[in-house]
């Protein structure tokens, strides 16, 4: 339960923290040593030895995600990733599951907007078996028609079930409304319309186009010898033939101007769930650490301004936060919370008031020091396990970042001044241009929320999809 909440509600920290690690005195954070090589076919391999626990973590990132889904086929990348283990050249889905479970391994594959990924973990003594399963899924998926059919039906029903819980779908509505015709508007897992149109061939085509050695990063961390692991990986992956992959074009999205509001009517709602924000930043934004410091104070931890006002002082909600989802190009920024139907207006007013106050009063020297301590103090446990370290190496490589991301972090954060904070607030926290997305009971709150925007739209939670995101259908907003 706790973890659910962490993932759904308070993404801030995980998203915005690069992560660091290693045994070091409290002082400067430092990236542990690892080896980077490139196989002849162009695949990138990252290896980090750690012998604390007999586990090995694997992270695969393929440089193509749902932003590459064909129009009206949203979910194709996700289907492709999900089907990797559902039947391969030498194993059917059931055999794969049996072999994986028998050694107590984990394997999850999924797509994001910009990437398709596999995270897997095995006990060290089962390294060879684990690598065999991983390489089989990545290199030789068979995309059996019956498995495709099964999975598709599950996705369609899963979407129905998801709409029973506002908290689980508000992100999809928010992105669709905020990004309009931009590829980031599309729901990664698809919607009722796109899933009705997707075929097995769409998933396989996505795989064939984009899963190439040059597009692939494999990061391994844990209890192994680098030389042995390098040899094992080479044996499995060197035969993967290099081939060109088409480029996925994802333009920089333009921030929304003015104020507009989308209300999703969910007639059984006892609370209103809402997000307010605009287009945010990229993963590599040069101000990213400073933004993280300011966001820690604004909406990134328990005592943040937003949570203080909406929860601690007023009891309006169980939790309120703000986050920047940092991507290849600018991802969403949002303030997110929920409150009972009757206090919807009070909570939104309060949210806007806190945002205004951030601009008017900025932050104090004491706040700034507190946020710096918090970020540096909470950092080490985010990259404590082999799986986390494999994820970190792969992520840095994917975004073209390097060890400086970790090694320079302490000094950079400590150098931040109040003037820096002021600039960050002005530059990255929108006030006049805002998108509002609410899920709630329209008959109770619909009239009252009109005041927030010049343009308002109402949809039913029962309407298929999360919005309209086909670029070919012209401008949306």
């Amino acid at each position: 339960m706790k973890r659910l909440l962490q993932i759904l509600l308070f993404i801030t920290a995980a998203l915005s923290m690069a992560g660091t690690a290693g045994a070091q005195a409290a002082g400067t954070l430092k990236m542990p040593a690892y080896k980077k090589t490139r196989l002849k076919n162009g695949m990138t391999l990252l290896l980090m030895e750690r012998h604390s626990v007999p586990l090995i973590g694997f992270q695969v990132i393929v440089r193509a995600g749902s932003a590459g889904d064909p129009e009206h086929k949203e979910g194709a990348a996700f289907m492709a990733a999900s089907l990797l283990r559902k039947g391969t050249k030498t194993r059917n889905a059931e055999q794969f599951a049996a072999e994986l479970d028998f050694i107590g391994g984990t394997f999850s594959s999924f797509a994001n907007a910009d990437s398709s990924e596999i995270a897997a973990e095995f006990v060290a003594k089962d390294a060879a078996k684990g690598l065999d399963l991983l390489s089989e899924a990545l290199l030789h998926p068979a995309f059996p028609q019956d498995e495709f059919n099964k999975l598709l039906k599950q996705r369609i029903d899963g979407l129905k079930a998801a709409k029973d819980q506002a908290q689980g779908v508000i992100g999809a509505y928010y992105n669709a409304y905020l990004f309009g015709r931009h590829p980031y508007a599309r729901p990664t897992t698809g919607d009722e319309n796109s899933l009705a149109a997707i075929t097995r061939d769409d998933a396989q085509k996505f795989y064939q186009a984009y899963y190439t050695p040059a597009n692939t990063i494999l990061a391994v961390a844990g209890d192994f010898s680098t030389a042995d692991m390098e040899k094992m990986v080479a044996q499995k992956f060197e035969g993967w033939a290099a081939r060109p992959a088409p480029a996925i074009s994802v333009p920089e999205p333009a921030p929304v101007t003015g104020k507009r509001l989308l209300l999703i009517d969910k007639p059984d709602s006892t609370q209103t769930y809402f997000r307010i924000g605009n287009i945010g930043i990229t993963r590599t934004n040069p101000d990213r650490l400073y933004i993280e410091v300011v966001n820690t104070l604004f909406g990134g931890r328990f005592t943040s301004m937003i949570n203080s006002e909406l929860r601690i002082k007023s009891g309006l909600t169980y939790g309120a936060s703000s986050f920047f989802d940092r991507r290849k190009v600018r991802g969403p920024f949002a303030i997110a919370t929920f409150t009972k139907n009757a206090t919807t207006i009070q909570a939104i007013d309060k949210t806007l008031e806190v945002l205004r106050s951030l601009h008017e009063k900025s932050v104090t020297a004491e706040d700034l020091q507190s946020a710096k301590n918090y970020i540096l103090g909470q950092f080490p446990p985010t990259v404590e396990t082999s799986q986390q370290l494999a994820g970190l190496m792969a992520e840095l490589e994917f975004y073209g970042l390097d060890d400086r991301e970790i090694n320079d972090m302490t000094a950079k954060i400590n150098a931040m001044t109040l003037a820096d904070a002021k600039r960050i607030i002005q530059q990255y926290y929108p006030q006049e241009n805002l998108v509002f997305v609410l899920i709630g009971k329209a008959s109770e709150i619909g009239d009252a929320v009109k005041k927030y925007a010049s343009k308002m739209e109402v949809r039913s939670i029962n309407d298929p999809g999360f919005g309209s995101y086909a670029a070919s259908e012209g401008p949306y907003h």
């Binding site: 599951a97 028998f102 107590g104 328990f302 009891g315 309006l316 939790g319 080490p380 446990p381 396990t385």
Partner: protein, 445 residues
């Protein structure tokens, strides 16, 4: 991160289930100290990262409540962050976060657990903060009023706003008639609205004696410094009477119970619960292995049958929580669109019946043990995982050492044991079935 203050009966549970098979190489050195006031302190030194995890387990939860004030333990847990003598309202969190630390807490049927994660530089401060709130908690009427709103919002999020949460509440309410597990940890909404200051004071006096607590510290510390800090800050806090023993035992169930929830929903839900013994009972390890065989991974029996082969359900999960008193072994399935919950129920029973007639295979038993071992390693790979696990073993199994003998306990379980568990517990008389039936639109009011 700040998902603080949750109520949950599932968290501690999942851990120990899998803590299973610790290999002999996987024991580690734990030092303990019993303070004069009865608080036990466990320390495991580990300098891999410059951080520390502190978990404090209070043996008080919704199990110790009474009708009219259900949910009080969970509400009280929230109040533990709202000010004490030295650190006023808001200061606990503000001070801890400014020193680089974060915290959380959860409440279950049996326990209230407080968690702190921080850089070692904040060690003294953390002991100061914890000691202050255990000894000198304040009861500010304004804070009580606003925190009531927070808890009500949490209940709306997890129960009213979640069909699974709503149905699960009904399952437990129907399965228990005498024992206090019958009400939800978060409490009934009407009770949330009605707690008084006196109720809170009483709860503090009842549950928060140091003698009712176990503290676990794991990370970049030495046992010597922790014991010194504990003697200085915690030992002076006076012990008082622990909660009254929970004497109620749920009588044997004498026939199936069924409960239905009808509400606006896209898909139905089926939940089935069987009464099983508490975590300290000898049956525990066999039941935990059964849980793995039935529910863990895509090769598990129920996933294969319900999700993969028959394609009746979108998902199947469940299991049992570690508990101080006899608990429920639960199965939760979401039928696919157009599938009657009854069809899922029938297939579930067929699989449970199969456990009673055929022995599981050697391969399945070995797989379950391997999964347990791998899960144990995962749990051991973080300082917070180790702190939580040591505490859970100490509290639910009576001794943290049992963590290190769990392997042996699992390897002693035979296929015949699994069959007899299934025959004894997975029977019609012993089960409660809860079904959520979707209504297409909200009924007119």
């Amino acid at each position: 991160m700040n998902s603080r203050k949750i109520f949950s009966s599932t968290i501690v549970a999942a851990l120990a289930l899998f803590l299973a098979a610790s290999a002999s190489a996987q024991t580690f050195d734990v030092k303990t100290r019993m303070l004069k006031n009865g608080m036990k302190v466990l320390v495991q030194e580990d300098h891999t990262i410059p951080n520390v995890a502190v978990y404090i387990f209070y043996r008080v939860g919704s199990r110790n409540e009474r009708p009219g004030t259900t949910g009080l333990s969970h509400f009280f847990e929230h109040m533990m962050f709202n000010g004490s003598k030295k650190y006023g309202p808001g200061e606990f969190d503000r001070t801890m976060e400014a020193a680089g630390g974060s915290n959380n807490a959860y409440t279950s049927h049996d326990l209230t657990v407080y968690q702190d994660w921080f850089p070692r530089s904040a060690l003294d401060l953390i002991f100061d903060l914890e000691a202050d709130r255990i000894e000198n908690l304040s009861f500010d009427p304004e804070k009580i009023a606003s925190e009531r709103g927070v808890v009500a919002s949490e209940r709306r999020l997890r129960v009213e706003g979640s069909n699974f949460g709503l149905l699960n509440e009904q399952l437990w309410a129907a399965a228990y008639t005498a024992h206090t597990y019958q009400w939800p940890v978060v409490g009934w909404m009407v009770d949330i609205d009605n707690w008084t200051m006196e109720d809170l004071r009483h709860h503090f006096e009842m549950g928060y004696s140091p003698s009712n607590a176990t503290m676990v510290v794991v990370g970049d510390v030495t046992p010597v410094e922790i014991f010194q800090l504990a003697e200085k800050k915690l030992e002076p806090i006076a012990a008082h009477a622990p909660p009254a023993k929970v004497t109620t035992r749920e009588p044997d169930q004498l026939g199936e119970r069924r409960v239905t929830v009808r509400k606006f929903a896209q898909l139905p839900i089926l939940m089935v619960g069987y009464h099983v013994p508490e975590a300290a009972a000898p049956e525990y390890y066999a039941l935990a292995l059964l849980e793995t065989i039935m529910l863990s991974g895509q090769s598990s029996r129920l996933y294969k049958r319900l999700v993969d082969k028959d394609q009746l359900a979108l998902s199947i999960n469940g299991g049992m929580d570690e508990a101080l008193d006899p608990t429920l072994f639960e199965f939760t399935a979401q039928p696919k669109a157009g599938v009657d919950a009854a069809a899922v129920e029938k297939a579930l029973y067929e699989e449970l019946d199969r456990l009673k007639t055929e022995l599981v295979s050697d391969q399945e038993l070995e797989k379950a043990r391997n999964i347990a071992l791998a899960a144990f390693y995962r749990q051991m790979s973080t300082i917070s995982g180790r702190a939580n696990t040591l505490g859970a073993y100490e509290v639910f199994h009576g001794d943290y050492h049992k963590l290190f003998t769990a392997t042996a306990s699992y390897s002693q379980v035979t296929k015949e044991d699994l069959r007899s568990m299934a025959k004894k517990y997975f029977i019609e008389k012993n089960r409660t079935v809860a079904t959520l039936i979707p209504e297409s639109a909200e009924p007119a009011k």
